[in-house]
Symmetry: D2
Subunit: 308 residues, 4 copies
């Protein structure tokens, strides 16, 4: 089951569950996988930044991949961004052998010019092989690499194995419109566009032509509902649900704090046993916890899933 | 009427009105000033990035200051960030002579270390004189300069003329808590903290100890209401109002697009005659206008001020 | 006498002389201008970073331009980089009215993509007018903006008023070769290429096709000699002279310290009355002065001009 | 044989030899190790950026370490910078078990504030253990992280296992003076300071108090001679030799091109069988090769080791 350009719906960016002492919590890996499936996701993305991938030993990364692939029954995308192509190749070939559906590659922060970005993806494809479907991660806010629509278009047209864009440029609505127009004009192969940025603009991103979301918001069921409502043409209902969640979506979007909030809510929802992060961990203050609790209590008035 | 650390409420970041041909629209300057006052602002900040300051001739900058100061009757803060201290000094002395209440200074993007930031503000104070009250603009997302609480503390303690922090670090809730704690512990003079970032976190920033908002959201009356409700201890009502506006607040927070959206809404509200920007202008597509209209129509269900 | 693509030789980046109390030293402005002419420069560039331009009042900038243009009798290029197009336009039109030959424009550090860079120069030309010859400053080390040869080619072809490249990319030898090849292949109009970076690679830059140097090294006479020797085909002599100066060229290339070293040497050579910088000034320690003196004494063995 | 603060002389940054088809050239690993020893180095640094470490599989990294440690008989420092602490810990513990003398850690480019830098090294020490001697790599030009002397002082004082600074700030002469003064004033433990930056300022860095060089210049024998001459108080001779090499030192200092030049010269000197880099490789044009050959022929007039 390899990833292709028809992918849509919600690919949850999966958290990685740890015990309070820092050991991997393999029981919670299963529980969390089941939780995501019950939320209606169409796929999972593991070993991303939000999955604390840089804190994992290589064997742990492969072990998690094996466990999630074996359990999920949906396509699994694995983050393989690395400072060198040797490590990228090892991990990419390794996880594909374990049954992953594709890999995601972010550009290193040092890239500046259009040619550098296009060249980097060419080198990455040469390293991992052109038989592995891959996702471009377009995340200038964190990565400081800015890709124009024409750069993305060139990468897509240069590499048939490029099947998806993880869109998290900000602002990025016009970018989706331009990429979709380029496809309609016959200038670019069709690709799947799933949106990140914590879902902060998902309401309009879908209306601009995105196929869904790829993000780690702790209510993936809301994301799935919004995608479904939009597909069914129930625009106002989609926005009503989205707007009810927006205060929390926005709160989770705080870099550094976000993962702590996310694990805190996932634990409350029973998806993981502990909200512990492996060191070095970001922390959530008591004030922040109280703020999240308050947001959840307000959300619960509209969405029972937030009632604890 | 000089700015001091007791400043609170809402300082609107004022737009600069232009005719469609690029000339300054002085009639709208008055109309917009009146609009802000009717919205309940306690002050105004002019000649910031959102005021298209870099597109103004020096004489225009002084003319606008003269006009707004003469009309407003509230404290006016003027942005004087400049690539050199000569230009900063000229503008700062010039606008204070015209009756401005204080100036705002952003650090240049090249600064990296704590000492460099502290040193830069010392040089700025030496340049403009220590008799001009000034505001630190702490905006890492755009300026790439990161100030820790202890750096801000040192700047405040080094310079009695430092009376306010424009807080737009993100995430920044813990920073407000730390600065307030430093004051309580006797480690820092008291300062006013007004929050930017388009108001995206204003709800909780106030609860953490901020004194109000300094931002350009096109409904400064909402910002003023939220500040007032929080001051009166009506927390739930404050959040209800804030949350109703959040989808639009978030939409306006898109860099580049934001000013176009803001002027579009201000024009709809009758505050300016034209939403034109002086060149080079950011543009708002027809799709984006339709999205803003949709957000306004949804907002109008809760807040009549958004009904047109 | 407007700048055009046939410019060659040495354009010295002129220092700005100050009295120890910070006032402009107008007597030394004349003396320094004469010194540069005696050194054999073919032009001068004033109001650059090394000219402490950001510390000058607008009237001072115009006064210096008037004085240098009136005295020099060679083409004067004026740096007009500014945070906004209004200030850029004012300064550019002002200095051209005073007889400047052209202006130099550096891209702002926020630019990232090829399109952003090309678009910025289009906006700049629209602002200043397409009748003013301009120089692209390509200085990624300081400005963080990276321009590929094809980006430079587009800017040149888009704007007939683009007549020169100040080349200070590093490494940049292949870039010169590529630009010259693009011209030979009929893909780009001819432009003048003068090299900066303190002259650190001037020996080979000339051999790759550069027309000369635009830098502030305190021995512009050496730069002029090296250009002349290369033009006359006396390669080994050119390198012998260059290599003798290289230890000092390299020492001057230290950012922050460089200007202090440069003014110290210019004062020793009698070109300016004081090595004072206007505040905020970089300083040269006693140890650094002793190091420069040592380098000069060593240099004097090969080049009498360094004997004091 | 663990690294400590008394380290001095020259630690060559070792290249990694490959066959033209990209396989590791283990015969040349021995030959190159012997070459360095014959050049008079006191230690070696392997798996740095110049060693193409990111292109190596983890097993290859350990194999090279084992081979070089077994052969060299001098202290080996291993670069263990990594995007995550798990990988850093694995590699650090692994190479120490193989007999490495210490590890080198560069800060990730995202760090900005003093506290972030100090905190990062605390986390790194916690990850690898406080029994492994480590080197701070202070290289702002490439890493964009700026460390003040007081930040370095804090890291040194916080961690007894911090024994060396790889100094490649630029400009950095005053920094060495300040760090040595801090030690003399009893404010900082003593550390070894070895200088990088391709050796471009080694002449004066030694006079400011550095203990030697850690860089990859293709004539480590020259570096060793300069260090020795300075130690013996033969200042003029040290500068004479250094200055003869400076044109080539400077040429090698071009980022991207530098490694290709270095391997080209090492191959000429017989230290490696092929100048091939593993993909993605930087290339050296025919023009650049001819320039290097010309520099070598000029150098050979003063230093027979450059005659081929």
């Amino acid at each position: 089951m390899k990833l292709d350009h028809t992918a849509k719906g919600v690919y949850a960016i999966a958290a990685t569950p740890f015990h309070p002492d820092g050991r991997l919590d393999t029981v919670s890996v299963d529980r969390l996988t089941d939780f995501y499936l019950e939320c209606g996701v169409t796929g999972l993305t593991i070993l991303g930044i939000m999955g604390e991938a840089p804190k994992l030993e290589p064997e742990e990364s492969l072990a998690i991949t094996r466990q999630v692939v074996g359990r999920a029954g949906v396509p699994i995308i694995v983050g393989v961004s690395a400072p060198g192509f040797a490590a990228m190749r090892s991990l990419a070939r390794g996880v594909m052998d374990l049954g992953a559906a594709g890999v995601m590659i972010a550009p290193p922060p040092s890239l500046r010019t259009d040619d550098q970005i296009i060249g980097y993806y060419a080198q990455a494809v040469e390293a991992i092989g052109d038989d592995i479907p891959f996702v471009i991660q377009d995340y200038p806010l964190t990565l400081t690499v800015v890709m124009t629509p024409s750069v993305i278009q060139k990468i897509v047209n240069n590499h048939r194995s490029c099947v998806m864009l993880k869109h998290e440029d900000w602002p990025g609505l016009e970018k989706i419109s331009k990429l979709r127009a380029a496809h309609k004009a016959g200038e670019m192969r069709d690709i799947s566009i799933l949106c990140g940025n914590g879902g902060l603009f998902l309401d309009f991103e879908l209306e601009r032509g995105a196929d869904g979301a790829m993000t780690g918001y702790a209510f993936p069921d809301m994301l799935a509902d919004v995608v479904r409502l939009q597909q069914e043409g129930r625009r106002d209902e989609a926005h009503d649900l989205f707007d009810a969640h927006l205060p929390l979506v926005r709160y989770e979007q705080q870099q550094g704090v976000g993962l702590a909030v996310r694990k805190y809510v996932l634990q409350k929802r029973g998806a993981i046993a502990s909200d512990a992060q492996r060191k070095p961990a970001s922390v959530i203050s008591d004030k922040a916890k109280a703020e999240v609790d308050y947001l959840l209590s307000r959300l619960a008035r509209y969405d029972k899933r937030a009632a604890f």
